[in-house]
């Protein structure tokens, strides 16, 4: 079994989830409470990775972070590193790829918080930030957990994007799904079967635990 790949995938998924929490919360907040007319454009943009094939995403990302693009050049000039075929590059790809899996549950959780409570808090002079942390976040906890778990699980199972931008480096970009693919192609069916089974168990466990916890919170299905 390819433990290096499993470790890498878990690390990548944790980092992706963490960054999506940082990035996803403000986006979801804005999507829920903003009154801009062009809000639907941002909603569409966030949801794009749901419908775009990973190959399209991977192709664009490889061009966007490569040394020929301004982003790639800026990164190389400031850090001395290159993004393609690196963990950081893969992390950027994963964050973009899993963005809707975090933002959508976050946003629908925010939306389900009773508007009257929020407005009462504002009227009593509590700041927006304070209201967010002490009222909205606790009340939308199940949705936040769902978003994080889905980001984690989705990154763990990510394949097409990694195949396009990763370069298959052991310990750096060879994730579990790539490792399984390699073993199948190299006709090592046994190794592939073992790793696949482990991945299946982990994914099922993570989802089962989450949905089990959700029942306690008796929340509405947050993905709708």
């Amino acid at each position: 079994m390819d433990w290096i790949a499993i470790g890498l995938s878990v690390r990548l998924s944790l980092w992706t989830t963490f960054i999506l929490l940082l990035v996803g919360l403000p986006i979801a907040y804005w999507l829920t409470f903003s009154k801009r007319r062009w809000k639907f454009l941002v909603e569409a943009l966030v949801a794009l990775p749901l419908v775009l094939p990973p190959t399209v995403l991977g192709f664009y990302i490889l061009l966007a972070i490569g040394p020929k693009s301004p982003v790639g050049r800026f990164y190389t000039e400031t850090t001395g590193w290159v993004l393609p075929f690196s963990f950081q590059g893969l992390l950027i790809a994963s964050v973009l790829y899993s963005l809707p899996f975090a933002v959508q549950p976050f946003a629908s959780a925010f939306k389900s918080v009773d508007r009257r409570l929020i407005e009462a808090s504002w009227c009593l002079g509590v700041s927006r930030l304070h209201t967010f942390w002490h009222l909205i976040v606790p009340l939308s906890q199940p949705g936040l957990i769902t978003g994080m778990v889905l980001s984690f699980a989705h990154t763990l199972g990510e394949f097409g994007v990694v195949l396009m931008v990763g370069g298959n480096l052991p310990g750096i970009t060879r994730t579990v799904s790539i490792s399984i693919y390699d073993e199948v192609q190299a006709l090592n069916y046994e190794a592939a079967a073992q790793t696949s089974l482990l991945l299946l168990c982990i994914s099922f466990l993570v989802l089962a635990v989450t949905y089990g916890l959700q029942r306690r919170f008796s929340a509405a299905w947050p993905m709708s």
Partner: protein, 277 residues
């Protein structure tokens, strides 16, 4: 307000439906007239081909179509190892062109080959390739180009399942550069993706098939140096017709075309050496 919006949507929907149906009818019409005109049933053979054949195969099919217009050939390109494992599970292809003769040979041993259909069609050649703007003079530096200071990533096909990857690794070892570049290697899924890594600039240099470097859409976009044939195991490329084909006759005529002088000339133009040469 809402009612009118729904009407607009509906109109869009019908317009789209109409457009698609128009496109479909347009496409099917000439084919029908062709069939009735030549009074023969149009047959299609499905080919699984190694990624290094991408451009040569397209040309081969064009030429073949000229000779046998009633046989259509559809191709899927990928890594030979991937096709091998798919074909072991009876993937619905009629023919298999591998970049490594050992895969079709193994399929034949498993009894997956149409009787006596094994064939060798080409010898693959490796080149070191850099894009046109590269500071590396690959013709002068030869294999040492891989050690050029500007090189951060060397793209090769995955040696685990792509024959060109195995050959590239063997060549780097026998030419004594493998140790120094080992930590700069990045692996493409097949030899065509390997080239794409270098073309996109994500890797500075790569080892790819000469047949790809010579392709019209790639030629002029970069420079290459051919790795001497004796520095890696001979890449004999071969194929088979699959036992479960419904189009044995059509497949056989495509096979003979690829092995006849006209077919061989095309393969030669695209940078393959030929067997028995």
């Amino acid at each position: 307000m809402r009612q009118s919006r729904r009407n607009v949507l509906r109109r869009f929907f019908y317009a789209g439906l109409f457009g698609t149906s128009l496109a479909c009818s347009n496409r099917s019409q000439p084919q029908n007239s062709l069939e009735s005109g030549s009074q023969s049933i149009r047959r299609t053979i499905r080919v699984a081909a190694a990624a290094d054949l991408k451009f040569a195969m397209d040309e081969l099919i064009r030429a073949f179509h000229h000779e046998e217009p009633q046989i259509a050939v559809t191709v899927s390109y990928g890594s030979s190892g991937n096709f091998y494992s798919q074909l072991s599970s009876r993937a619905p292809f009629d023919m298999y062109f591998s970049a490594d003769v050992s895969y079709p040979r193994r399929l034949a041993e498993q009894g997956a080959a149409y009787q006596g259909s094994e064939f060798a069609y080409a010898i693959g050649r490796l080149v070191v390739w850099v894009p046109a703007g590269s500071p590396i003079d690959v013709a002068k530096m030869k294999i040492e180009a891989l050690r050029h200071p500007s090189v951060r990533h060397v793209a090769v096909a995955n040696p685990k399942h792509a024959p060109y990857g195995r050959a590239a690794e063997a060549a780097m070892r026998s030419l004594g550069v493998y140790e120094t570049v080992a930590d700069r290697l990045v692996y493409g899924e097949n030899v065509a993706q390997t080239l794409q890594f270098v073309q996109s600039g994500a890797a500075e240099i790569g080892i790819v098939a000469l047949s790809l470097a010579l392709a019209p859409s790639v030629h002029g976009q970069g420079h290459y140096w051919e790795i001497p044939l004796d520095s890696y195991p001979r890449m004999e490329q071969g194929g088979i017709i699959l036992k479960w084909t419904q189009q044995a006759e059509a497949a056989q005529s495509f096979r003979s075309f690829a092995l006849a002088p006209a077919g061989r000339q095309i393969l030669k133009n695209y940078g393959f050496y030929l067997p028995e040469e």
